[in-house]
Symmetry: C2
Subunit: 364 residues, 2 copies
């Protein structure tokens, strides 16, 4: 991965944007910036790439009102900040950008709230078609951890680090950096990637040596996964050509976690091709498992039922498999956590459940 | 740290507990278990050790009612499970214990909810005077990360790992394992430990090379710190004899984060001597900083005001320093995040703010 190149592209695209404003001024036009409309109604599920993308509708930010002019002024200041940041090989968080604007010499350019600066950076991502990471904007919280037979090289500010994700790390595993595109995969013996929702289950798999026994890389999702976690999952799939399976609880929120790994989320639809792994398959607790294994359950709450019903309408879940599972769950009115497999003993998940599911899927 | 010894002690204490029930039965007494009353009114601030501890009041669990007998039955089953787990050198999470009880042969011994099993394990911690970690009960979510000039050795299930927390890790740092007592400190050049509340600020300090420039170990707290994070902070302080400072936002919730690192929390008062670092000092955003540096602020919400008022009554905050700061904050009605220091430039925190505060405190 040549991030240097991506960064130069980011810089170039940002300067192009500013140059466009300049040209518009020079030719006597009112400066404008056109971006895809970012509302729910303008998100479509792209059948070919199987991810969420923006539709055809666009909105125009124009300097023909004071409010619009102020927005473009803020964009210009932010572009200057980002270009300088890239020039100096530095980085910052969205929150720092918001606070930093207080030091700008033009009060009109200062952000009035963090929502405004966050949205502007997303707009710039979309218009410039490079990612926030390439602007060197860091998230507030970092990605999760990896454990398995993978050797990688991370390009850090302090030099390169070669790390084997079993031999060179403690039981906590390798901490994914904010921008996983600073990583090169050097060598591996991975047969598949297993993304795991909860820390308790991740630790169970490590303790039972599942990564070692089945040559898999265990990616801890930590609930709804951070961008860095989704990005590295996609890169592992594409670059190492290995299957990805997603192991979650058996409830509608966990199906959404799977959905965001596999198909992207509405909030980051402009990044689906960068973050989503449509080939990822679901190996989480299925409503049929609840019935078959008589797992300990909790009753569905009203919010669970609503979420399941909206998933029945969600293009990401329009398959016979999902329709059947979701309808069964609405019928039995129960949900189960992945750790409920412990009701059949602490080794059931690694000795029986996962091997059987993986075998059924043709992964083993 | 000899964890083997701690585990043997844990096993011994658990068996003693079960033996006590046995003896009570044999001598014709109704079995009972006595534990400190775990309500807010029985928590006292111990002036000598400067941490929260339980007071003198105790409650008795007795088998003289069906309900009481069932509680002791569950305790006996849990003790057997924990002793076996230690015997086999395995571990599990609180959630797994709850689910696992479904496989026990006596239905009366099965837990009716996770609250019940969680509370029983805490009771056993208190009565046996060993920690959950020594029972090999893992938390659901793991600790945070370390970065700085420290070389450590972690005893993992797969052998020993020697790791330098700058040279052998990526930018994400070293991931603290669930039980940090598996770590030995080998070598270090640490002058002080800097615990940081937010990921954004942690990354700022790493990017600016603060750990390198000032020979400090940066501990990411990730909000309210996990037990593992508090435990390793205490061990670093005690074993390396280095000062600990805690860098947080400037609001009542962040003062509580500092309070839990320094003085322990009400929920884990029985563990204060194991987890709390009373010598830890506050280097977070102070209300006087908000005034002095004209930091960007948010207005106090009603819940903030209530929390500040209750801190004025909290024995942990009974010093002139805290009284002055909290009263000032109630007066100005404002709070500020640690990242708001970016309003004075991205390097202000590492070049000016922290060095000045550390110098004032006599740490530098």
């Amino acid at each position: 991965m040549s991030t240097k190149q991506d960064e130069e592209l980011a810089q170039e695209r940002l300067i192009d944007l500013a140059a466009e404003f300049y040209d518009q001024f020079e030719s006597g036009d009112i400066p404008t910036m056109e971006i895809p409309t970012r509302t729910k109604t303008n998100i479509v599920f792209d059948e070919d790439s199987e991810v969420w993308v923006y539709g055809d509708r666009t909105s125009t930010r124009s300097a023909n009102s004071v409010r619009g002019a102020r927005k473009l002024l803020k964009a210009a200041y932010t572009i200057e900040f980002l270009v300088d940041q890239l020039e100096e090989d530095r980085s910052s968080t969205l929150r720092e950008l918001y606070y930093l604007s207080e030091s700008w010499d033009n009060e009109e350019a200062q952000f009035s709230g963090q929502d405004e600066s966050n949205q502007l950076v997303e707009d710039l991502e979309i218009v410039s078609q490079v990612t926030r990471e390439d602007f060197h904007m860091r998230p507030e919280e970092s990605g999760a951890t990896l454990m398995g037979p993978l050797e990688l090289r991370e390009q850090t500010r302090r030099g390169e680090r070669a790390i084997h994700c079993q031999m060179d790390v403690g039981e906590g595993g390798y901490q994914i950096p904010n921008n996983p595109d600073t990583i090169d995969f050097l060598d591996h013996e991975i047969d598949f990637v297993l993304c795991v929702e909860t820390g308790g289950m991740r630790d169970r798999l490590i303790e039972n040596g599942f990564d070692d026994m089945y040559d898999c890389l265990i990616v801890h999702l930590k609930g709804q996964p951070a961008r860095a976690t989704r990005r590295i999952t996609k890169r592992l799939h594409d670059e190492l050509t290995v299957p990805v399976v997603v192991f979650t609880d058996g409830d509608p929120w966990s199906y959404r976690i799977y959905g965001s790994v596999a198909y992207g989320s509405i909030k980051s639809a402009h990044l689906s091709e960068y973050l989503a792994t449509p080939e990822a398959r679901f190996i989480g607790i299925q409503p049929t498992d609840i019935v078959e294994y008589e797992l300990p359950t909790d009753p569905l709450a009203d919010s669970d039922i609503n979420a399941l019903e909206s998933e029945l309408e969600d293009p990401r879940f329009q398959s016979d498999y999902w329709t059947e599972q979701i309808e069964l769950q609405l019928d039995i009115e129960k949900k189960a956590e992945q750790q409920s497999l412990a009701s059949r003993g602490l080794d059931f998940v690694t000795e029986t459940y996962l091997p059987e599911r993986l075998d059924d899927m043709g992964v083993l």
